[in-house]
Symmetry: none
């Protein structure tokens, strides 16, 4: 394999518990992320049960398609654990006793002060020519087996055992022995207040890019992500390529890009409040406490989040937020005048710099022809004015709540970013 060609890898997870859905496979995502960071390509993930014939077939197919096959799981001491004998057969290598592994397993049992079960002896055998990967957490070692032009890697299934083995042993080995110079860098932009199709229309040309830089689009409730992925030879080249596309996207999208990579909307809002030394109070109706929950997921949020009222019943809107009962009667709880009063009222009651309010109909019942399920009103109040907007959301109850909370946090974000809004907006 030349140093410039990206290595191709295929991952095979082994375990009947995965096929039955009792265990969610997190190893594959972990390995894929780590391999992608090294510039290793991965085109297939496969899962098979504890069945030697199907595992052998999958390993052969993987070796035919890729440069390297990595198996996860099935290395334990029980008869269910079929990976070692199967790989030995596929690779046509005899099993040999590894004395170093045997003495590590013996030591482990001595430390635990229990006799070593005979079944653990099996774990001291590895295919001839394999490089053993000691297991610092459990008993089953992994191994790296270089074949004529390919590479076979076997890892244990428990993430607690697999993850350190990958980080401390497999990745350094791959770096040192496979001359991987192709680096990969990705950066994800988070957008809100825009639909997936609108984003798609604005960046359709970028989504079709093939080559050193590609862009992917991913939609969640109330959020669209654009991921820029660049391949290159130096970190500086990668950064330059990524930045160019990011600037292009930001120029087309404007303020709907609220954060990057691991940033959440509540973190971004928190940072803006912290920097401007402002506080916020909430009056939530249909979101039921979700906005407060999200704001308080951020460590240190007590510096800017005072608290608020979950005004689910109308009486609470009157008693604790000061919405006049007459206003509720005249316009209904889900209305622009009421949400504006809620925002202004909670701001005043809790002496906050900003009051943020939501009222709406999350469903499945409670909708009318005039105000169907998904009707949501938002408002943000500061000392001078109140800004409000109406949303018409779709989805089930949980999704409407999630989208309403997201839009409310985004209303606060855009307000914080526009320090001198036009009067009366």
């Amino acid at each position: 394999m030349s140093a410039m060609a990206a290595m191709k890898t295929e991952l095979i997870a082994v375990g009947t518990e995965l096929l039955l859905g009792y265990t969610v496979n997190t190893n594959t995502a972990f390995l894929s992320r780590r391999l992608a960071e090294l510039g290793v390509d991965c085109y297939h993930h496969v899962t098979v049960g504890d069945n030697p014939a199907r595992l052998a077939e999958a390993v052969k197919a993987g070796l035919a398609r890729a440069d390297c096959v990595i198996t996860c799981g099935g290395l334990g001491p029980t008869v269910d654990d079929i990976t070692l004998p199967t790989l030995t057969k596929v690779a046509q290598r005899p099993l040999v006793l590894d004395h170093a592994v045997l003495s590590r397993i013996r030591e482990r049992f001595t430390r635990m002060r229990i006799p070593m079960p005979q079944s653990n002896l099996r774990q001291a055998y590895v295919p001839r020519g394999a490089l053993v990967l000691p297991n610092k957490v459990g008993t089953a070692p992994g191994f790296l087996l270089p074949l004529r032009t390919k590479l076979l890697i076997a890892l244990p299934g428990p993430p607690k055992e697999l993850e350190p083995m990958v980080t401390d042993q497999v990745l350094p080995w791959l770096k040192a022995h496979r001359g991987l110079t192709g680096l990969l860098r990705s950066r994800t932009l988070h957008l809100t207040g825009i639909t997936e199709s609108e984003v798609d229309e604005r960046v359709a040309d970028l989504l079709k890019l093939k080559g050193a830089v590609t862009v992917g689009i991913y939609a969640h409730a109330g959020q669209v992500d654009l991921r820029i992925t660049a391949k290159g030879e130096t970190p500086a080249a990668l950064q330059k390529a990524t930045r160019k596309v990011e600037q292009d996207i930001r120029a087309r999208m404007g303020g709907v890009v609220f954060g990057v990579d691991d940033e959440t909307l509540e973190q971004v809002v928190g940072t803006l409040l912290m920097k401007s030394r402002k506080t916020v109070a909430l009056a939530e109706s249909c979101t039921g406490g979700l906005i407060g929950h999200r704001l308080t997921q951020v460590p240190g949020s007590s510096a800017y989040f005072l608290g608020g009222v979950v005004a689910y019943a109308n009486a609470v809107k009157t008693a604790l937020v000061g919405v006049p009962a007459a206003l509720l009667r005249q316009h209904g709880a889900v209305s622009d005048p009421v949400v504006r009063e809620m925002a202004a009222g909670i701001r005043k009651t809790l002496r906050a710099d900003y009051g943020l309010a939501v009222t709406g109909i999350a469903g499945p019942t409670g909708g009318t022809a005039q105000k169907p399920v998904g009707t949501v009103h938002l408002a943000v109040a500061d000392a001078k004015q109140v800004a409000s907007r109406a949303l018409h959301l779709t989805g089930d109850r949980a999704i409407i709540k999630a989208r309403a909370a997201q839009a409310a946090l985004d209303l606060l974000r855009t307000t914080l970013l526009a320090p001198k809004p036009a009067a009366g907006r």
Copy 2:
């Protein structure tokens, strides 16, 4: 396929984000579990990227090995979404416009009051002969495509869209059309207020069962699940076998079993409040709104949930919940006297039957030697008395919040189940 032979299915997840490890694939585990409950066998899970050639190859391999292939993902409106054209090609069926789907997509955009982007028109085309599976949450419909002797099913990728489509449409269709006799049945008991090791000790013998009935244990934050799985030939035999083990577990565990299968603690609490025609109000500090959020996830919760106060800052505890400032000074906000006042105060202020309160230190900062991070106080008040308890939780901020909310809901549950508590507890 005879009614008695188990149907074989293969699952194919589609998405480059899965191969890059940016998204953990939970759809496969969800589908596998549901299919296993129907007695459907599954021997392979495969993941490919947004690449038509590799998806086509995987679908062909799947159709050669299994009776039914289910794809997840790649049905959206963007150019990345390659599943529909690829399946159409593999199945050799022309695409036809489905007017019902088109009008549902149009309606959705009309409701949202935005013009329908041209790209969404793509989603109204399905292979000829396909049975459309309407998407109640997003725009992309799924479909069932019966081939000569095989079955092809295409589902959207977002779990919020896939899961209801599977439960409400795919499984009932499979049951009705494929003559699947229930060969496997599982029932999950949810426990809270007990550690995994305590549960393990009490049911160690059941966890070792091999044969027609098995029991598995699974721990989450603040919750332990015991899953009973029975294999058999008739629904009656399965039910009998499952019930026997369930009764045994309940006899050993008592009141810590709060629900079964899809039941959540907030649903169980909601049902108890509804049945007793009682209302509840909340005073949340460290949970920040999470308890209100959970209670309002349940449709119809406005019948018993009045609302509450998120008393994050001390001033809010005094201003809106009526906790005397002197009490806060004397004992600190995280203390038994304060949480009792919060529960009694919010009950009185909002004229609820029950007041439920939480105060604590979620961390990572704010702990002291006397009150370390994870110190949480809970209280529930009714007209006659206040019951309280202290917790010492471990974990990060998010886990401490989740465990505190779970324990608070469970305190309300046990209070509702004990209609005549001993005085002065």
